[in-house]
Amino acid sequence: MTTPLTLTPGVRPDGVALLTAAGEIDMSNTDTLAAALESTPGPVVIDLTSVEYLDSAGLSVLFAHADRITLIANPLLTPVLTISGLADLATVHEGGPDVR
């Protein structure tokens, strides 16, 4: 069984591709994320606001596309993104609910 994760492709009002993720990302479902990114050429905004968990396997997938992605992330994920160094390679916007 894989960890529940829904990926909804879309387009932002400014025409940039948008991938909205909800759920958790770990090694059991990174393939799904990778596939979704592979099938979306060009710059893409990934909305991780509803992602409650992201591990190093998920980060690896994001690193592979670091030069063309922009992230919108829940503040819960900020430490992971910062520590892994992804925040230095890709643009990260804060969004979603505040950390209590």
Partner: protein, 1395 residues
Amino acid sequence: MARCEDPEQGPLTAAGSGVFAADDEVGRDLALVDWRATPLGPPEEWPQSLQTAVSILLSSRFSMWMAWGPELTFFCNAAYRRDTLGRKYPWALGRPASEVWAEIWDDIGPRIDTVLATGKATWDEALLLFLERAGYPEETYHTFSYSPLRDDSGTVVGMLCVVSEETERVIGERRMATLRDLGSDPSVVRTEQEMLAFACRQLGRNLRDLPFTLTYLYQDGGGARLAGVTGISAGHPAAPLTLPADDRDAVWPAAALARGESVVVPLDPVPDDRAPFAGLPAGDWPEPPTQALVVPLLQQGSAPYGFLVAALNRYRALDEAYRGFVELAAGHVAAGVASARSYQAQQRRAEELAELDRAKTVFFSNISHEFRTPLTLIMGPVEELRGRLQGADAQVREELEVIRRNGLRLGKLVNTLLDFSRIEAGRMQASYEPVDLAEVTAELASLFRSAIDKAGLAFRVDCPPMDEPVYIDRGMWEKVVLNLLSNALKFTFEGSIGVTVRGEDDHAVVTVTDTGIGVPADEVPRLFERFHRIENARSRSNEGSGIGLALVQELVGLHGGTITADSTEGEGTRFTIRLPYGSAHLPAEAITAAGTGAGATAADPYVEEALRWLPADDGGEPAGDTMGMSSREGSAARSGGSAAPARVLVADDNADMREYLVRLLKGAGYQVSTVGDGMEALDAVRADAPDLVVSDVMMPRLDGLSLVAALRSDPRTAAVPVVLLSARAGQEASIEGLQAGADDYLVKPFTAAELLARVRANMDMARLRQHQARWRTALVDSLQEAFFVCDERGAVVEINSAFTDILGYGPENLPYTPIHPWWPDAATDPEAHRQVADAFGGLLGPGQGSYTIPVTHRDGHRMWVSVTFNHAQDPDTGRRVVVGTLRDVTAEHYAIQRESALASLSTSLSQAGSLSDALTGALRELQSLWRARSVLAAVFDQGDEPTVTATGEPVDWHGLPEERRRTLTDLLQRPLLTPVAGDDGVGIMLEHPEGQLALWVDLGGHRPFTGEDQVLLSLLAGRLAQGLVRAHQIDQQRETAIALQRAILGPAQLPEGFAVRYEPATRPLEVGGDWYDTVALPGGRIGIVVGDCVGRGVEAAAVMGQLRSACRALLLQDDSPARVLMALDQFAAGVPGAKCTTVFCAVLDPETGRLSYSSAGHPPGILAHPDGSTGLLDGGRSVPLAVRPGATRPESETVIPARATLMLYTDGLVERRRRPLYSGIDQASQAVQDGRNVAVDDLATQVMIRLAPADGYDDDVALLLYRHPAPLEMTFPAESSQLAPVRKALRGWLGQCDLPTQIVQNILVAAGEACANAIEHGHRHTPGDIVRLRAEASVDNLRLTVADSGRWKSPEPEANAHRGRGVALMRAMMQQVTITPGPYGTTVDMQMRIA
């Protein structure tokens, strides 16, 4: 514990129905049942009520089974399968209950019928049921409740049984009781037979575990004899009275057992009925046993004493516990045999010692008394003959001389033996006065000069005056010096004899040296032994008893001194005596002023004996000059019966007249003393009566007539003849004088011849008159019993020598007026004083009588005498007097006291709760018995240094003075149970269970330790050794009992997050009634119980066991603590001893920390909050159990905050004498609070140590700790699909810990990376292996452990770029990360500060 998956996500996918999903294995087997063949039909069609019941059953971790429907179809859960069903699983599932439990249906069927008929639950406590679940009918015990199950319409259609199997507990308690009874023999010692009878009575009370037993003991001649039976009659074919040695066909394998092996013997009655095992008794069971365990009665370091045949309960398997029980029982019997046999041996030895001592004492007192009287009656006439036969021929005189000399020798020997007898009895009458030891010694030495000169030896006396006086008894010292000189002369043939006296630091040193034959080195240590003579030594005489030097040593000892001997064979011998200065070492009452003890010497027997060893040079004329006697002329002045000159006392106030009379009388050969008046004369006569008094009539103070009257009125002086001299002439004056009682009357002036004639005539007359009196005195003196005469006022006016021997008071101080000096002191010993006063009252009354009373010897020691008296009239004066005798019954008295001392020691030993108690108590007994300064015991065990126990202040080996340590170490060389007297006390060796015990009784000061005392000490030491062995056994038995109690206490498995402790009371070490318990309840909740039954001992433990079981069962039926306690009230009311038990009962929801509780009179629980504050769970309080049965109990609820610690306990933890309870609770609260960061199990240890009183808990203590939330523990297969559920469970648990979201997130990431690592690396090749995760929180620390069982490959960077990132993430998120790879798995340990 949290579960790692949600119920609906469980791994089970049972065929067909979800109804069995709650349990994996049993569910699968239930699903395999062909339900269509049962009245219940397929599960899909089951009513909701049945489905629910089955689901509850399967999800419960408590042992349950149920029956449903017309055939009562059987269901059970995993716990029931494990605990009870045994081999009947899975056969039993789906079958009618009556078929499943056919063998016990008679027992349980009616109960089930009752439940079905009435709808009311049943309750059975520890019911015996014979289950056939292991291939044989098995004795089992069950506590269970049957409750009704209803279908959807509410009709009772089945029953649910909640059962707890108590077989282990019931059988364990039964065996424990037998072992306890075996060890509970109240008497300290008994014979082997009594011991076996006692053991058999105990074994015979447990006919369940031991249907019958036989005890065989090996006999000296080989073979074994039957010494005890239980459950079978002696002589039964299986119980032959004797087993011959080496009989291969014997009923029991005696030979194998003699080698110490245990044997299991099948008890097979085939082939025919005459076999020994036909018709065996069955004990408490319906069928006879089928096998017996035969175990040896082991003896330490030797072949077994015998063996115990224990027939085995056929309804129990012979497992380790059963085998252990039989071996322990045999151990008890063996220990009893050992104890009885060693006691018997010690008893025999002590009796032999006592007998020897008695014989010796009797011998000494007999010879002394029986020889003395005939000797006196020989020596008197001999002296008389010598005087009368001056003119006889030389041969007659020579023969008389031989008789006289040998008479003197015999007298000397008898006196020496008598001295010994006195010393032994502690009656040596000593009178120590300060002297210049050099001068006294030199004087004594001079007496021997002529004899030594005559032997041709040089005599060197070197005794310069000393600066400091030495206290000696002159009589004793004389014997010391004369004996040593006599000894020197006897063994010295050439060279010299020397005597020196010198002063050293704190003592005087006297040496007597000779150049004689010396003593072989190996004989030197035995020189001072009594009756020891060196064989074949060359000496001047073969005479000698070998007693002289022994007496010298005793006498020197009485002076507080020492004597040593150095000798070289062929060169000579030196005796060195050391006497301390001063008088501190001597009894105060025996000290007198200088000069008072001077008296005539007894040197003549020594010197005359010595002279006779020398070659005769004349007719044996004794060295009379050396005796300081007056001239041999004037034989007229010698009295008829004595060699001594007659003594005359002259009383006159005129000095010229005195001188004239002295000149006259001395010239006639009399020994004369003078006084100046009548008063002085009276004193002088009373002190030492002369043979005659010559007195002037006219004198100051007391005139001659009054003097005569005074002398005549006193029976002691009435017979002294008095010649009065007066200037008054005339018949009248002389008649006055004669009427007053004077014997003669001379008017001045008188001629010398007239005076001498009158004196001589009166003396002869008086002697004639006194003949009768002397015979009377000789007779009285020869009485062995002390004799006394009292006047009407109770003053003692006459005594004999035995009186002086016994009480130490001589005739010189007569009369002794009441209160007599030998009365015990009224201040220090009022009881003894009263006894004597009562007896004295009876003595003065009319008639005759007899009393046994305590008196005080002149030297201060206590004696017991038996007094017999009668009234008489003095024929001379007509006065009423009391004549009595007294006998020394001290020995008899002490024999009685000895019995009491033994009894008292036995009592002390039997009351001791431990080995050290026994020793401490015994030392106190010994101290009080001898009024010793202290008593100490050193046990030379296996330790580095001996273990020391002492009365008074505690002391260790290094705290003892060097000298004492040496004394104790020296004792090790001595034989056991033989007293060894030292300077200031006495020691003895005995056996201690842990080694050799050296015992020292410090008598303090100088006090004789008599033979009686020595016998008593060896008896007591024997008894003590015995008692110590017993106490040692008690220690071991109690340890066994407590181990057994621990085994029946508390749940087998504690839920996570809990820690418990049980500690029995230290003194007396005993099992108790405290308990703790946790019960897993439906819905994951946990029942918590801590209780305290009243009392101690096995009774309390038994009550505890019942209450604990009942409380468990009640919690399973009802989750309200208040209602559980109310039901428990009802239950406790029916259990004797359960009333007033206090219980704290709580139900915890480990998910939320919600705790509902109710307290039946129990101390409040303590809750330590993470912020450092503390609270008490003091709501829900009511009275102890069964005090108000039926009353409603309150219930409280609280929520245990995250990371808080709960402590429940019994009052033994906090209750101390003279301290308010709340002070103890505060202290306990502080201890929990201080340990709120420590792992909960370590905290339990800390609390028990911190609250323990200095000498241990005096009540038993049960303790239960819980930290919320309990640690999370999960195991899951190493598959990536597990990551999400694991994360979910961890997130839920972290929520319980009440942590900020970001911290929760960080921990989740770190844990996720660790799990991912374990899955990806550890199990790349074997997916599905198990990974373990554990999380534990304390107040400010969170610890997370992830462990797998695989090997991590060495890093492969290109393939693991993101894995490296994972480790980096872990390190970034947590404060401390340790990865420990190992051959059997890798463990990641991470910690984070959370406060």
